[in-house]
């Protein structure tokens, strides 16, 4: 009983999409990243052995989570850092806000992090009059566009160079003669604007790709160098990580640093990986805070089948291969975690109570491609089937209504050009991981795509279909 009938899709899409150029670009990007990933993975004769090790490392870490977190706290503290515990988004935001306010910062610089999106940190800071400046290029473009209500919020891949040039001219008060629409020239403008921020803003906020309990070492994997800037130049660094990011030993990095870049940006290695351990005297931030976030994770951990979802290293490979994701796009998942991983993680994080959460496990055709590419071997189809069982158990007969509704909503998406375009924009998440390194934080894939839905609550209590409806309505109001 697949969520979508694969047949009508291509047909509906062909009718719906009137922008062949956009479609070609997106198709090209997706195909390129998939092929590139296959190539770099094929280069390693021991890829399967690495996946086995990666899966075992994550299983072990989850098995021993309490002791590892306590050990991490000790190591980070010994190295001069401060560890904070946050049960939910509210507590995490409070901790971060109070640090920022203590330093009287009016601005903070941020490395894109899906965890901070999950807790809605930027909005929380805004309430205190603090502006969070996104420093990833695509994020910056989106953020600047947001500042000008005449521009509808669209992810950067859908903005062509002329539009980005316009945006920059306006945002930075430049003379038209001073700026061409060459990507290099546009990137240069962002470089100059952000360089000043890197050099002057006192507090940086990041996520973390992993933290080693044995040594207290935290790591961020990225591409553009904005990560290194944020981790090195400000006086204060605050890193927010889900409790599941802890790894037992430094040696585990020899596995994760092989699995992650090849799965994510399809590179042998991403341009930059930074590892730091507490505070380094005379080098980098002299105040370091690590916030350990629960926000539903212990609930996921309770479930022996579902807890595998916590093994995710946010590479976004499963998004890139998912046929449903490709069609429905990121918004359909109604959460900061889209795609196959979102379909198993979100319902568990927020609980299977709402119709939205209940509909997510059906957002898959169970083709199995996600499991095949997952670098830590999360058996996504198995968890999807299991969660479907849980939904049926909860809903009894009304389950069939739910499934029918879910199927209708996807069909509905593809019937109309406006809606399809919207889906395409949302789909950027999976299409563009080649853009940057993304870790949960800096891994581009998952996070960068989500930016166009910032106006949605992080964990909306709405169904898959409601979200589509609202987005479509919003789109009509601001064409």
């Amino acid at each position: 009983m697949p969520f979508v009938d694969p047949k009508p899709y291509p047909a509906a899409a062909r009718v719906a999409l009137n922008d062949p150029q956009l479609r070609r670009n997106l198709g090209k990007a997706t195909t390129a990243i998939r092929e590139k990933r296959l190539r770099v993975v094929a280069e390693l004769p021991d890829w399967q052995a690495l996946r086995d090790a990666g899966a075992a490392i994550k299983t072990d870490a989850m098995n021993r989570l309490p002791e590892l977190l306590e050990q991490l706290e000790v190591s980070v503290t010994k190295a001069g850092g401060q560890v904070h515990w946050a049960r939910d988004a509210r507590e995490a935001n409070q901790i971060v806000s109070s640090i920022v306010l203590r330093h009287r910062a009016k601005e903070v610089i941020k490395i894109k992090s899906i965890t901070t999106d999950e807790i809605g940190l930027n909005d929380a800071l805004e309430l205190h009059g603090v502006t969070a400046i996104e420093t990833d290029l695509a994020e910056l473009i989106v953020q600047l566009a947001h500042d000008h209500p005449s521009h509808i919020l669209v992810p950067a891949i859908h903005k062509n160079r002329a539009e980005i040039r316009e945006l920059f001219l306006k945002s930075f008060n430049l003379e038209p003669a001073d700026l061409s629409d060459e990507p290099r020239a546009l990137a240069e403008v962002a470089r100059r604007y952000l360089r000043e921020k890197f050099l002057t803003v006192p507090v940086a906020i990041s996520g973390a790709n992993f933290a080693i309990s044995e040594t207290g070492t935290v790591g961020v994997v990225e591409s553009e160098g904005n990560g290194r800037m944020c981790l090195t130049l400000p006086k204060v660094l605050v890193s927010i990580m889900g409790i599941e990011k802890v790894l037992p030993s430094l040696r585990d990095l020899e596995v994760m640093l092989q699995l992650l870049p090849r799965s994510s940006t399809a590179e042998r290695m991403n341009p930059y990986t930074s590892l730091w351990t507490g505070v380094h005297a005379g080098d980098g931030p002299q105040e370091f805070h690590l916030v350990l976030l629960d926000n539903g994770r212990t609930k996921v951990l309770e479930d022996e089948v579902g807890r595998q979802a916590l093994h995710c290293i946010r590479c976004s490979a499963c998004l890139n291969v998912c046929p449903v994701y490709e069609r429905a796009g990121g918004h359909a998942y109604g959460s900061v975690y889209p795609g196959p991983i979102g379909a198993i993680l979100t319902p568990q994080l927020i609980g299977l109570e709402s119709e939205h959460a209940q509909s997510l496990p059906f957002a898959s055709s169970l083709c199995g491609a996600c499991y095949e590419v997952c670098p830590v071997k999360i058996n996504i189809p198995e968890i999807l089937v299991y969660l479907r069982g849980e939904v049926v158990h909860k809903k009894g007969n009304s389950f069939f209504n739910l499934e029918a509704a879910a199927m209708k909503s996807v069909a509905w998406v593809f019937m109309d050009k406006t809606r399809y375009e919207f889906a395409q924009k949302a789909a950027r998440v999976g299409q563009m991981p080649l853009v940057k390194g993304n870790t949960i934080s800096s891994l581009p894939g998952i996070m960068s795509g989500w930016t166009n839905s910032r106006d949605l609550p992080a964990v909306p209590q709405k169904s898959f279909r409601d979200l589509w409806r609202e987005r479509a309505a919003a789109k009509r109001v601001h064409p």
Partner: protein, 215 residues
């Protein structure tokens, strides 16, 4: 806001929730490490050279006796007149005619912007992935030193080249345990955020030149 007490409460609550969720304490798992600890490549220097070049960085090979000359040539070609260097850089690496900016802990990062390039050594280079790793100890300087100037010229000695990531991590463990940060560099920074056009060097150094020194 009484933050310390709040976070202490949260800590206790979170740990007990996690304990309840996972049940009885479990012993550490034996991790199956059947992956390659070495690649079996015999010519790591050539492999490193090829892999770094794949990232569109420039690679030079030279003998140790030619190193100063090679460095001078690169800096001249780049048009460098103001060179940032770590305080402990071997003096014979530094061309005589250049003005230098010597890194020190209290140097404001902004001053590093005045340098046209930075010249450093490294700790380890990983052949299989074309990665250079700095632990910011000898001849490498603080992290800001290799981040702010627009060009990074990095010297790699053959004995610093390791096979693959497992080999690198085992060499780097002592750096981490004595409390040093690590920076892994694989080519210049890059973005494809604008119309999928690859642009090198959004924020880090836009030019990376690596000199591999045969010994």
């Amino acid at each position: 806001m009484s933050e310390p007490r709040d976070t202490a409460t949260a800590r206790t609550a979170m740990l007990s929730l996690i304990r309840a969720a996972i049940g009885a304490p479990k012993a550490a798992l034996e991790i199956p490490r059947q992956y390659r600890l070495e690649t079996g490549h015999t010519d790591l220097t050539s492999l490193l050279e090829e892999r770094i070049a794949d990232y569109r960085a420039t690679v030079h090979l030279c003998n140790s006796s030619d190193l100063p000359q090679t460095i001078a040539g690169i800096l001249e070609r780049l048009g460098v007149t103001h060179l940032a260097i770590p305080a402990d850089l071997p003096t014979d690496w530094i061309p005589a005619n250049l003005e230098t900016l010597v890194d020190r802990a209290d140097l404001e990062p902004r001053h590093l912007e005045t340098a046209d390039a930075v010249l450093t050594g490294c700790t380890v280079a990983i052949a299989e992935t074309g990665t250079i790793v700095l632990d910011h100890s000898s001849a490498q300087g603080r992290r800001a030193l290799t981040l702010i100037p627009d060009r990074h010229v990095c010297i790699v000695f053959q004995m610093q080249i390791v096979d693959n990531l497992p080999a690198a991590i085992s060499r780097l463990t002592s750096s981490v345990t004595v409390g040093r940060p690590l920076t892994f560099i694989s080519g210049p920074s890059a973005t494809s955020d604008i119309e999928l056009s690859r642009v090198e060097g959004v924020h880090g150094p836009r030019v990376l030149e690596v000199v591999i020194v045969r010994e």
